[in-house]
Structures are given as structure tokens and as C-alpha cells.
């Protein structure tokens, strides 16, 4: 097994909910709870789950845009959460984030050329040089800098803005790109173009991707390995093929069954999971999926199941597979 480029262990973030006259903490939103995984150089790891399951918070924790409550993140062998500000600035060149909302992710007062060049200026590159590189990258993501460079975000379409976002993330020559729902707000046809662009760029620049999405089709299309998240916890992880062919966790099974598959043989008619996900403010005790799970047992309520390996590189956090462990 090659050395991990990114590794997270025991990552946790609970947001306080305040209320009352004295603004005391009333409850905690358990956004991310005890999440651990590895990303090897060159692969694409997909993270999939319903909205509100903590995917986006996880991305921000990995980049330390939000400070975790507990856990560790290593990038290229370096402890990210312990890095001093100057070192952190250096680390941020190597791990970049592409945002979900192409509206809010570009400063309306900067031309797209300046928006892309800004990251370089932050790292002390001279203005002319930064702009030159920004223009080159805009060209690479399919936006002719002569036509678009001096434009403002509001003059671009959603897909074009997302291309600008990608250019901005790549301008620092990062090793790792975290993509937080990069195509969710785009039309299907534009989605495909942007996904293909991302695949090309990955091969060209030897990038590593962490790809976050609620859309299983997109995740299956891009990922080598997949993590399935449910209410802040990873319930199953394995190669994209293994999960597609034999999903183990009842939630994963439901998720794959409900995805509008391109393959008619795999399509299912009935909705597999009943109800909405429970509120992350007061998640169920033990296994968080048990309230919607057809196989729930008494012990599911007692403690959260630890992940067990059902096959090489295929882990499931579910008591149904406990016998494998023993």
C-alpha cells in the first residue's frame, strides 16, 4: 500500500446551538463524528451522502477553514491541525477547494482574471506574472482570456463560473483538490462537460481528488473509492466497483437502489428508505441509521458499530457483519 497523501483520523466537529436569554448552549449539531479515511496520491475518493450529512463540513475541516473539535489530519506526512500560520499558508497551496455555489464563490467586484490571480498575489507572485498565469489557466479550463479575462462574474453562466472556480483552485499548482458538489448546481449537459474537464485536468496535472456529492451517478463516474456518509459518520467505504456490485450497509444498499441508474436492470421502482433523515441536532443513539433501517436490532441503539472489513479495502460499520469480525 502506497503512502497516503491525505489522512484523517477521529475527526469531529459539533456546532453549538444557542438559545434562551443568556444564550446558553442548548444542543449540539453533530456535523462530523469520528471520521477516519485515507486518500492515496493519484486517486479520486468520492464522498456521498444526503444533504446535511456533514460532507461539506468535512471538506472545510480537512482544509482547516473550520477548526475541528478533535482528530488529526495529515497531509503529505505533515500534521495540518498543528501547523503554524506560516506553514499553514504554504500547505494551502497544495490543497485547494472548489466550491458548490458558483454565485457566491466569486467576488462580484473582481474580474475573473483578477479573481484567479488573487491566490498568486497572496503568495507573493508579481502582479504581471500572476495575471499571465491566470490567463493561461483560464484558457486551459475553456475560457478564452481575451474574451472573458476582463469580465465580471455576473456576466458569466453558471458553468463558466464553475470553470473559473476550477482555474482559481489550480492556479497555485496544488497536489490535492477538494471538490464540494462542484457540478450540483449545473444543468445535466453542462455537468458532463465540467466532469470531463476535471478528469482531463487530473490526468494532465497528476492531481488527487476528494469529490463530494449527493449524486451517486456523479460519484460512481469519477471515483476510484467511495465513502458513504450518514449523519456525520462514515458508514461504509470501499472501491467504487465493490460498493456498486455488493453494497453491504443497509443505508448504502438503499442509496444505490434509489439512484436513477442508467442501467435498466438495476432500476428499482419502490423508494427504499422511508422518511427523511433524522435531525442531526439530536441524532439517534448508537447506530444513527437504525430509525430508518429494516434490520435494526436492540443492540443498534446501544453503541455505534465500529467499522469491520468485509473484504480487502471494504469496511462497513454495521452489526449485521459482526460475525466477520469474530
Amino acid at each position: 500500500m502506497s503512502v497516503a497523501l491525505l489522512e484523517a483520523r477521529g475527526l469531529r466537529k459539533h456546532f453549538p446551538l444557542r438559545g434562551g436569554v443568556l444564550q446558553r448552549t442548548r444542543a449540539w449539531v453533530r456535523a462530523v463524528d469520528e471520521v477516519a479515511f485515507q486518500v492515496r496520491a493519484g486517486e479520486t475518493v468520492g464522498i456521498v451522502g444526503e444533504s446535511g450529512c456533514g460532507k461539506s463540513t468535512l471538506a472545510r475541516l480537512l482544509l482547516r477553514l473550520v477548526e475541528p473539535d478533535a482528530g488529526h489530519v495529515w497531509f503529505d506526512g505533515e500534521d495540518v491541525l498543528r501547523a503554524l500560520p506560516s506553514r499553514m499558508k504554504r500547505l494551502r497551496r497544495d490543497m485547494q477547494l472548489v466550491f458548490q455555489d458558483p454565485h457566491a464563490s466569486l467576488n462580484p467586484r473582481l474580474t475573473i482574471e483578477d479573481a484567479v490571480a488573487f491566490s498568486l498575489l497572496v503568495h507573493g507572485v508579481r502582479r504581471a506574472e500572476a495575471r499571465e498565469k491566470a490567463r493561461m489557466l483560464l484558457g486551459r479550463v475553456g475560457l478564452d482570456p481575451r474574451l472573458y479575462g476582463r469580465r465580471y462574474p455576473h456576466e458569466l453562466s453558471g458553468g463558466q463560473r464553475q470553470r473559473v472556480n476550477i482555474a482559481r483552485a489550480l492556479v497555485l499548482d496544488p497536489k490535492l483538490l477538494l471538490l464540494d458538489e462542484p457540478v450540483s448546481s449545473l444543468d445535466k449537459s453542462v455537468q458532463a462537460q465540467v466532469l470531463n474537464l476535471l478528469q482531463e485536468l487530473k490526468a494532465e496535472r497528476a492531481l488527487t481528488y476528494v469529490f463530494i456529492s449527493h449524486d451517486l451517478n456523479v460519484i460512481e463516474y469519477v471515483s476510484d473509492r467511495v465513502l458513504v456518509m450518514y449523519l456525520g459518520r462514515v458508514v461504509e467505504s470501499g472501491t467504487a466497483d465493490a460498493l456498486a456490485e455488493s453494497p453491504k450497509h443497509p443505508y448504502t444498499q438503499a442509496l444505490y437502489a434509489s439512484a436513477p441508474s442508467m442501467d435498466p436492470d438495476r432500476r428499482m421502482e419502490r423508494p427504499p428508505i422511508a422518511g427523511d433523515p433524522p435531525n442531526p441536532i439530536n441524532p439517534p443513539s448508537g447506530c444513527r441509521f437504525r430509525t430508518r433501517c429494516a434490520f435494526a436490532m436492540p443492540k443498534c441503539a446501544e453503541a455505534a458499530p465500529a467499522p469491520v472489513a468485509v473484504a480487502a479495502g471494504h469496511d462497513v460499520a454495521c452489526y449485521l457483519y459482526d460475525e466477520v469480525r469474530t
Binding site: 499558508k89 466550491f99 464563490s105 467576488n107 481575451r146 474574451l147 482559481r168
Partner: protein
Amino acid sequence: MSILALPTGVGVVVGAPLSYWRTVAWRLSRDRATLVAGSLLLLVVLSAVLAPWISPHDPNAGSIRQRLAEVGAPSHVLGTDEQGRDMLSRLLWGGRMTLLAGLTPVLVAFVLGTVLGVSAGYAGGITNTLVMRTMDIFYAFPAVLLAIAISGALGPGLPNTLISLSIVFIPRVVRVAESATVQVKGLEYVAAARASGAGVWQILRHHLLANILGPVLVFASTQVSLSIILAAGLSFLGLGVTPPAAEWGLMLNTLRQSIYVNAVVPALPGLAIFVTSMAFNLVSDGLRDAMEIRA
């Protein structure tokens, strides 16, 4: 900004993109009401600035034989006041005082209020609570009352008027700047800048200020009219500029006794306040419309 050299033969097909401020200027140039009000405002400001050169008489030289001359009197186009001083000259000079006393507090409040509001909004947490709760206290007073309370305690004089009016307007600007900052801070492009390793100052300068200064400036401009009315009002109460200086509010006050002798001349300083304040209101309305950001 450098202009990029296009290779010859490359035709830029699409209409040249307009920068934000050029769009605003273009929109303003098509808004007739705002243009008229703006010209009026320009006239008021110019005549105030040029008062020393264009006023026909010494504003403080009176003549007992020529008291309260009618509008249109020979050599006194707008008549004379209760001490026989030329009204036109006093109105021109008075405009200098009133504009100074009305504009300065808003300017001071714009600068200090933005600094405070942005700091509170960006820092969040306890700093925010502390600053914003303090500002709330000033909201316990209607503007007129707060101005009079502070001026009343400090005593008359132009500097005291400026201080008390600045205190009236600072909390208002802080509220607007704070809420704009909190809103922009939560947007993804700020997170993106942080993810690029940008420091606090770089984010403040390039991302926050650039996006909140416009709205805060527009808000400040809506306050100028009130500030002018209040500044003149304080002088009217005897709390502002001290005699014999010419100032519209003070002129209104001293001429008030003469309405039984001459009905038109005493109304003039108030008319000047009214017209100026309305022009500021119309211009700031037009500016706000023109600056509405479209996505």
C-alpha cells in the same frame, strides 16, 4: 490596471464588459429626476464654496436704516435681515456653515462607523456583542433627542455640533456595516480566499471592503439630508453655530421675530435648508437605485 495587448486581427466580438462603477454611472446618466436634483445640489455646493467671491455684500455688515428690506429691493435682491444685512450674501455664506455642519458628521460616521462595524462583523463573538450592544444603547434615543442631549450638555458652538451629530450617526453606520460584513463574510469567495492562504488584511482589503463600501456609502448618503436638518435645527435652538456667523438655522431663528413685519424674507433660510435636504434625498435615492446589484 494594465490594458492587455491583443494580437492584431483578433476581433473582440462581445460588447466590452462594463465595470461595476461604469454601469452605475451609465444608469445614473439615464435617471432624469436624479440628474435634476444632482444639478441643484451642485449649484448649492458651488455657491457655498464660492461664497467669498460671489456674494455681493459683506454678510455681517448691517445697516439700521435698511432693516428687513423686501425681496427685490435695490442692491439687495433677496432683501435684508433684521439687522439690515444682505440676505443673499448671508444665504451664500450660511450655506458654507450648514453644509459643513451637515456633511462632516456623516463623513466622520462613515469612516469610524465602517471601521467599527467591519471589525465587529469580522471578529464576531464577544467583540461583536460588545460593540453592537453598545450601539443599541444609542438607539434608545430618537435622533433629534440624542443630538440635543449631547449638544445641550456640551454647550453651543460648531465643534460641539459636529461631535454630537457624529455620535448620532456612528451607530447607524455601524449597524449597516456590521450586517453587510457578516453577510459577505459567510460567502464562499471569502472562504476561497482563506483557502488560498490569504491573511486577514488581504481578505478585508480585496474581498470585504470592496463589496461593502458601496452599500455603506449609499446608506451614509441617505443620512446627509437628516444631518443637515439636525445641524440647522441645533443652531435654530441656539446650540450650534454662534452669532454673528451666518448659518441657515441660526438665521431662521433670529428672523423668526420679524414675521409680522416681513413675511417672505424670514422664510428664505428654511427654504434653503429644505431645498438642499430634498436634493440630497433625491440624489441618494437615485444612487441607491443605480447601485442595486444584479446577479
